[in-house]
Amino acid sequence: MRSLQVWLLPASITLFTILVAFPLSRYMAWIMDGRYRAPRLLRWIEARLDSGAQDWKQYAVSLLVFNTLLFVYGYAVLALQPWMPLNPQHKGMLAPSTIFNSVASFMTNTNLQHYSGEVHLSNFSQVFFVILNQFVSASVGLCALTAIIRAFRGASRVGNYFVDMWRAVAYLFLPAALLLGVLFVSQGAPMTFASSYQVGTLEPNAMGTADNGQAKAQTLVVGPVAAEVPIMMLGTNGGGFYGMNEAHPYANPTAVSNFFVTFAMMVFPFALVLMYGRMLGRRRHSWVIFLVMLLLFVGTIGWAVWFDTLRGNPGLTAHQERALKIASAGRAGAATAVRLPATGGLPVDQHLGNLEGKELRFGTSAGATFGAVTVDVTCGAINCEQDSLNPLAGLSPMVGMWLNCIFGGKGVGMINLLLFLVIGVFLAGQMVGRTPEYLGRKIGAREMKLAVVALLVHPLLILGPSGLFAATAWGQKAEGNPGAHGFSEIVYQFSSASANNGSAFDGLGVTYGFNDNPNPSPEAVPWDLATGLVMLFSRYLPILAPMALAASLGLKKAAPSGLGTLRDDTFTFGCLLFGTIVIVGALLFMPVAALGPLAEHLGPIPFGG
């Protein structure tokens, strides 16, 4: 009975999303292909935006210029926060490094937050920085994917970037966000420009007493929460109004709203894969990709739920004494004998699994489910404390970010998958006795160069900084926990930044706060700068290189498929794709997985936790 309850939530959300994704993909293809006939006013706006058909380079330049302007704009909004309206609490200016980090974060659809929304941002910043970025940054990846599809169709002109942005925002995200916003308002999410309420607590003195002996009132921060949550989820942004993100009762008031926020972050990434097949006229091919992604998706959720909801917290259970020999490097016999004492279990009923850091309002498996989904689709919102997941369960969100193509973010997940696909087809596809082809076009040196470059960015930006921070005070002083868990925190943070995910393992002291904060976290500035740079580099290169790849491939002549050509819509192809993703992913990240979650799981408890 219990296992049924545990699995019901993830299963029902996944099924529901799949059902919605099919018609939605059709609508999306219809919109992005421009086959709609808009009302006159919207048509007028679109005509103003249309600067003509662009080749991939012009498209890419437009994308970069737009994002640069967005950066300047975002920096200005946050830096000028003290002087802007809708700031009754007179919130000051964030530290410059934090502003850089946040601007980079929201512009790149990452939404890694080195600040806490309700503490550090005014409603003006929430609306004009956060919400605005969440609409447009989500569209950037979608536009890039659309351009890639058009290039694959053989078009030398891949569309107009500004028109595509307009289509994505006006016809996809705005209506969907409006619909969900109404739903969230009905569930009790605040929707106001008021900033905060002072309320008396039910339990007297719950907030302590003032000097004059009076009970302190509780300050409840409110704002346009119902407006922010839908696009934060739909656009797989994940940057919450509150620091607690979707665990906060205002951002995620009920089990119903939890169902729909989870659904909201999944639905566009699901539909995008199907849109890819529709727009290319290769629907069976996209189904194979979809199923491969779904398999990985179910795998990561299953892993997280299995090791978190269905297993107790090993930190609370009893452990026997362990005697270990630690071999000194290489020298035979020169081992250090170590005795790990037995630990007693705490009197905690663990039959409901690991409940630390969970919002039980949503059910026991909601946290693990959400935790896995949010990284698979690179949303980054969270409704539980990832830091408190069981060690092995914590591996699941990391794997999601490392692979970064289990549906993935808006467009970019599909783009990342294409990289794995091209590399898999190139390496193994030759085994049919032909030069590797994708969509009938021969994959040559130029395409492979671009694919490899795009693929290398991700591990480089995760492993390089993780190594640097792990060995220096930057990382060691910021860790909330020493040992393997602290190492996991570091790796998680860079994985989240590089995957443009934005979720946090937490436990790292990375918050500087306001510029005049006398006691910032000691290593907040290097973390701000490092993750900010990682986010920027890992965003644009892996979008631009595949665009160049698609353009180069698209211009080649497509050979007709036959008995001798590799078919891309079969079970075998699915196995090839699955194998490529799993093996390449494992080869790149297995050592850090061993040093982090696996070492923590296999090691003594309490150890680094």
Binding site: I326, A329, L427, V453, L456, F487, L576, L587, P591, L598
Partner: protein
Amino acid sequence: MRSSGAAARVQPVTRDARQPGISRRVRRRRLFEPELVGEALAQSFVMLRPDIQWRNPVMFVVELGAVLTLLFVIQGAGGSSATQVPLTYFIALDAWLFLTVIFANFATALAEARGRAQAQALRRARSETAAYRLDRDGGLREVPSSALRPGDRVAVSAGQTIPSDGEVIEGIAAVDESAVTGESAPVIREAGGDRSGVTGGTRVISDRIVVRITAPPGQAFLDRMIALVEGAVRQRTPNEIALTLVLSGLTLAFLIVVVPLWPMALNAEEYMTSYLGLSQPLQSLGTDVPTLVALLVCLIPTTIGALLAAVGIAGMDRALQANVIAKSGKAVETAGDIDTVLLDKTGTVTVGNRQAAGLIALAGYAEARLAQLAALASAADQTPEGKSIVRLAQQQGIESGAPPLTKAAQFIPFSAQTRMSGVDLPDHRRIRKGAPDAVVAWVKERGGSVPDGFQEAVQSVASQGATPLAVAEDGAIAGIVVLEDTLKQGVRERLWRLKQMGLRTVMITGDNPLTAATIAERAGVDDFVAQATPESKLAYIRKEQAEGKLVAMMGDGTNDAPALAQADVGLAMNAGTQAAKEAGNMVDLDSDPTKLIEVVEIGKQLLMTRGALTTFSVANDVAKYFAIVPALFAGTLPWLAGLNIMGLHSPTSAILSAVIFNAVIIVLLIPIALKGVKYRPLGADALLRRNLLVWGLGGVLVPFVGIKLIDLVLVATHLTA
């Protein structure tokens, strides 16, 4: 009865049309011939030179790692090692790293040596002709043709082979140039004028000429072709370039994985030291540079990196073994990608000549009588068609009556004007056979008439794709001989095999569309070009290419040259003209029209072998991680021994086993690299599934077994702590 166009020119190739000696001498070599192995071994050490090794980025990284490790060995031997790792471990590690590079070099060197040996065998065959050199004093001296220099004069008499390319300076002779041109009719070559050029390998049929040699030894046409083979060996094909790039990318990726491991391992050492409250800092292999080098070498795709060049060279070598000289490796590689094959009907699909297959007697003639008449008319006809008519009559028990005819009978040969042949017997009977309309005209001329059913019979025969041949006696038409194109034995199976490979087969013929369609259907080709002209062939190739397809064709004539040049794979017959051979990108020394099938398979095999070894190489890494990662951190995180699922003896034995496996697998896979993965025409999907299981899944599993075995051996022989 010749059909128009190109098809008609393809003569059935007889043995004597080949270059004598050439096809014989290129034999299959044993894989590890001691002589070649020795040569390759020496070369593998020469190739350690960085400027040579640099060309193979993957192995260059291994070499750098080996040198770096060597520095640690020297440091350790000097007693100033900062680590506690035993020196013997460093030495063993370094030895195996160098061996890895040497094994890789050996694979390449062996493939090159085999290729060279193959080409040398060819060249030797060419140069062994005896020549009679004219000395200044006018004396004749017998020398090998390889000793001839430009300016030397040689005398060639009837029946001798012209030793090298040259110019006739004295005399006039009929020369059989079929070995070079494919034309069996001898040509006249004489001193002076533009008919004085002679080609090495051609044969003088009559008279005696003196030739001044113009080509230095080894520079004659065929020699140049062989030189091309050798030169092409070191050129990378487009696919090879792309693959090298990916392999370099993977190398870079694993550098990205391994380099940060050093600070990460340091982090683990520090916190474990403080966690356990030790006074001495812990040290694991994770911060030991040679061990990290070993990890890097195990992870980067050394297997395919080592064998890539060998695979490419072996591909050309296999082509050579099939007696096909490919002018570039690219041509062989392209052969695997071919979508459409243009096949000449004659010689490829059909035996090459129409054969009498049946008789239709008309106007009261008995079939036996008709057979006799037809045989009489063909008694002196030495064309394959004529012979087949006689044979058919004999099968029906009828003697052609040739002996009594020999003296008095007068044979009328076939001519293009009359389009008939036949015999005038001593008793003044005239028998003719020939094209129906010509025979009808002849009969009418003599006051005869056309019997009922004649036109219908003619048409019905033609509509079945056969050729009707009318037979008449004096003024009366006796009936029709049905000439049919006979399919070559096994051609249906071979075409089916091509189809299974995913190729579209197109038959090229000079026949009319009706005949062509029937033969196409009988043979099972997908499409045909009837009444083909060189222009229509070229147009067809262009049309296919416009659809994104790659086209292969075989040709021999000068008028095939444009099409051969246009085709993605143009296989010229060695018996063909010089122009054809220059235009194509491969030459078939056997002039065998079915060779295209083999060439396509060789191309596919080449690509498959590359893909299989790459997949295997990458899949291998999974097991190596399970061996090395727990070993790296045994000194800090002993509980990671849970990952040591192979149960390897000790950290150092685990790392050595992985490195040894990584090196040994190169040698073990050399036979596969050289012989190629067997290609089976199963269709792409089945082939991929099969190869994914063998090389992908196998690649994951095999090293688990291999590394464990090596570890057991190391422990059993006390070679490791």
